[in-house]
Amino acid sequence: MKKQTTIIWNVCLIAALFLLLFILEQTVPSGSMLFMVLKKGAIYALVAVSMNLLNGFTGLFSLGQAGFMLLGAYTYAILTIPPESRASVYQYFDGGIVQFAIPVPLALIAGGIVAAVFAFLIGLPVLRLKSDYLAIATLGFAEIIRAVFQWDKLGPLTNGSNLLRNFPTFQSVLYPFVVAGICIGLIVLLINSTYGRAFKAIRDDEIAAEAMGINLAHHKQLAFVISSFFAGISGGLLAMYQTTIQASMFKSAMTYEILLIVVIGGIGSITGSCLGSFLFIACSEWWLRFLDNSNLYIGDFHLTFMRPGFRKVVFSLIIMAIVLFYRKGLMGDREFSVEAVRKFLRKRFKKGQTAEGGASK
């Protein structure tokens, strides 16, 4: 298939997706869980893809996603709360020290930049080491940053352990889709560039990559900083989605959720991470909700084991099953694309034909 045809197909697909979202928004009542899943799913898709850039494409293992999202979320919130609301938000800190607000897109980017700067500083010493110190260092960083942001002394900036609120949020489901879509698009462009090839070379064989002239420290640092930048942006989006934020939200459990999404979707597959994200959010927050209902009957039979929290048990079992039986995740390291579907269908078709041919003889 020609390159141009592929591009046209992709543009059509994306347009169709947005049209579908638009129609859904016009027809389905806005309180529906569907929108909640779509919004959160888009945000998690972005952070999962950014994690995949590291884990799946560069072969580095970072566990700092929650920390970088926290930085993005706080930067966004601090920079966008309208000055007139600051007195009430920062009521224990005399209205805080920041007394201005910047436009939402700029604040999102600023969140990414702050996360990227921290990643740069962590990476400087850690990425020079050969082994997997990055996982430990980033996990530690995420824990520390959460504590630091709740520290009273920083209250004028972070509002201590109190909520940040009153910053601009989004209503439409299109908003997170557009922002996450642009960011994921950029990551895809990066992965398919000469730098992306260098990342994959490092993942496949560090020693050979270095012998081919790829500077390991520089490229690892680059991947780590870029990944953290997008984690920061997704943190900003998460703040918008949640409407209020607090440092204690960004626990390491959040990082593990994202890691699960990456593993379920397939390490090294962008479309896998996106798919995994929506499935994960839908399962954990929506589709299994009925299991929490303790008054469920089949006919006259009372399902006594159903009670609040049972959903989580079933959910964990599903995750275990996926990890055990789909070692490589739903997509492996393949990508969903028009081209792949076409090839798949053609193969099926051909098989059918030859089988028929064989039968007629």
């Binding site: 462009l189 560039s193 070379a201 990559a209 012998a211 002239g213 500077n215 390991l216 390291d333």
Partner: protein, 283 residues
């Protein structure tokens, strides 16, 4: 003929803990030559390559490339007490020089590996294309936003040409690791050539090849030397290959250089026969 020196290894010792893998090695490679490094298993040949390409910083000694000192070290820290090499004091007081392998490759020294190291999830073509990353002028922004389209096209063009030269065009889109052994070795050489080296280090390029393939490889190495104006330094066990194409041969045994000379001299050198050829016949 005036000889232009390309590589000079000076008093290099590489000691791992108590094991001396390379002991006071001295050798020179001149422009346009094909030089072989031979010796029994465990003699320290690969270790010598690893020192030259920056994988290990030598415990002691220096390496020059085209007359410039690129690597230098002397026993430091714990090694001061442990050091048992032959040349203890020469480099003390000098600043250590230890560039990473990518810097060495950027200078113009490329290599292949004894145990083939291709990028296993990549196709044959992509393996070569990755090596083109080194001579880029784009940065991460221009590359992401496709502002380097011309350079990208040139990289692909040059990678295609290399595929043609090594005769792998027909398997262009196959996974590198799906190729038969001999072709993987050719691909590794093509990938090294893609970094535009002047000096090519080949670590046992004929390992695992049958006599026919070895013969083809011999011709191939001669051809790329002429075509790319290369200097070649290689480790090899296949004596036919070594004797046929080497201008000079160095023989290593237990980390020490025991002989040097042209193929005739080496063939008739009693020390070599004893240490290496004799041993090889027993096998």
């Amino acid at each position: 003929m005036s000889k232009e020196n390309v590589l000079k290894v000076e008093n290099v010792t590489m000691q791992f803990g108590g094991v001396i893998a390379v002991d006071n090695l001295n050798l020179e490679v001149n422009k346009g030559e094909i030089i072989s490094l031979i010796g029994p298993n465990g003699a320290g040949k690969t270790t010598a390559f690893n020192v030259i390409t920056g994988v290990y910083a030598p415990t002691n000694g220096a390496v020059y490339y085209k007359g410039n000192k690129i690597i230098q070290n002397h026993p430091q820290g714990k090694m001061k007490k442990l050091y048992r090499g032959e040349n203890p004091v020469t480099y003390t007081g000098h600043r250590a020089l230890a560039p990473t392998p990518d810097k060495i490759t950027a200078m113009g020294i490329a290599r292949t590996f004894q145990n083939i190291r291709l990028f296993k999830s990549q196709t044959v073509f992509e393996n070569i294309l990755i090596a083109k990353h080194l001579r880029r002028t784009s940065n991460v922004f221009t590359a992401t936003f496709r502002l380097n389209a011309r350079e990208e096209a040139r990289m692909r063009q040059e990678a295609e040409e290399l595929l043609e030269i090594v005769g792998l065009t027909d398997v262009r889109d196959e996974l590198a690791t799906a190729l038969p052994y001999g072709k993987q070795r050719h691909l590794e050489i093509a990938r090294a050539l893609a970094t535009q080296p002047e000096l090519l280090l080949l670590d046992e390029p004929a390992a695992g090849m049958n006599p026919q393939e070895t013969l083809e490889l011999t011709q191939f190495i001669g051809r790329i030397r002429d075509e790319f104006g290369l200097t070649i330094f290689m480790i090899e066990h296949h004596m036919d290959l070594v004797m046929e194409i080497s201008d000079r041969i160095y023989v290593l045994d237990f980390g020490k250089s025991i002989a040097e000379g042209n193929p005739e001299e080496i063939r008739s050198n009693p020390r070599v026969i004893e240490a290496y050829l004799g041993g090889a016949q027993d096998e």
